[in-house]
């Protein structure tokens, strides 16, 4: 499908869009906040279409998320704000709809986790979103982040330590449940 898309088949490309748009949107959402996530995601797919020929194989998702990451970093740089403002100024990420039944976390826990993630420096935030939230392995995360494996490991380690600090007593309470 990627090869067909690279040959110029828009329908094939759009099948790829449909396969990955939820993942891309969710990464953008927690990187730049709800108000800007839609733009960031759409720009990601425009940019991906324009640069399809540069995809040389490997995980397409990793390649696509590299583009998404760059879009998110660009947006954040343009704002020149502290990472904590991501959620404060944008509409809250937690939507008011009740969560589907299979989700174990309460809406309150989700909000606490998302607030903590939003306070991480962008590079650490991306790392946690890709690996712990989206489930990428270190190799694919390395591709998406454009850094080597060693950097992925150390960044993730710091991000998790920071999250545990931010979550503090709340985290301990959840742990006990």
């Amino acid at each position: 499908m990627v090869a067909t898309a690279q040959a110029g088949d828009l329908a094939a490309f759009n099948q790829l869009v449909e396969r990955y748009q939820t993942t891309v949107y969710n990464v953008c959402l927690r990187m730049v906040g709800e108000a800007s996530a839609e733009d960031a995601a759409q720009e990601t797919f425009f940019a991906a279409y324009r640069s399809l020929k540069s995809f040389r194989g490997g995980a397409f998702r990793g390649w696509l998320l590299r583009i998404a990451s760059n879009q998110c970093y660009d947006q954040l740089r343009q704002r020149q704000r502290r990472p904590a403002d991501v959620l404060e100024d944008d509409a809250p990420v937690v939507d008011p709809e009740p969560l589907p039944e299979h989700v174990v976390l309460s809406a309150e826990t989700v909000a606490i986790l998302e607030q903590a993630i939003a306070q991480l420096p962008p590079e650490q935030r991306l790392c946690v979103l890709l690996i712990d939230v989206q489930g990428l392995d270190y190799d694919e995360a390395s591709q998406a982040m454009g850094v080597n494996l060693g950097t992925v490991k150390s960044r993730l380690s710091r991000a998790r330590a920071r999250l545990r600090e931010l979550l503090g007593p709340e985290f301990r309470r959840k742990e006990g449940e």
């Binding site: 748009q21 959402l29 797919f45 279409y49 589907p100 989700v103 989700v110 985290f171």
Partner: protein
């Protein structure tokens, strides 16, 4: 080392070293439990549905729409080229006369 260990991203010697240490260190065992719990929580964050589809329409991928600046350049270059062609024709007619 515990963070990559939790993800199975340590080499065999590293893993053995971590496990040997865990056998004798309560603090690290507690930290390991914390890391696993954190991973578990993060993995359960809900996947939000995008507000709309992001598929590209045929109009969206026309060269003019993909890069407004580029198409402006093309328009300018085209008119310069047309002006030069006109000039060239005019010059050749002049030279022939």
């Amino acid at each position: 080392m515990l963070s990559p260990y939790v993800d199975g991203q340590t080499s065999l010697p590293e893993r053995r070293a971590v496990e040997a240490h865990l056998g004798e260190c309560d603090l690290c065992r507690a930290e390991l439990a914390d890391l696993r719990a954190l991973k578990g929580l993060l993995a359960q964050l809900p996947r939000r549905e995008p507000p709309r589809a992001f598929v590209l329409g045929p109009r969206a991928v026309r060269p003019a729409a993909l890069s407004g600046a580029f198409s402006g350049f093309v328009r300018a270059a085209t008119s310069i080229a047309a002006a030069l062609a006109f000039l060239a024709v005019g010059m050749s007619l002049f030279l022939q006369g």
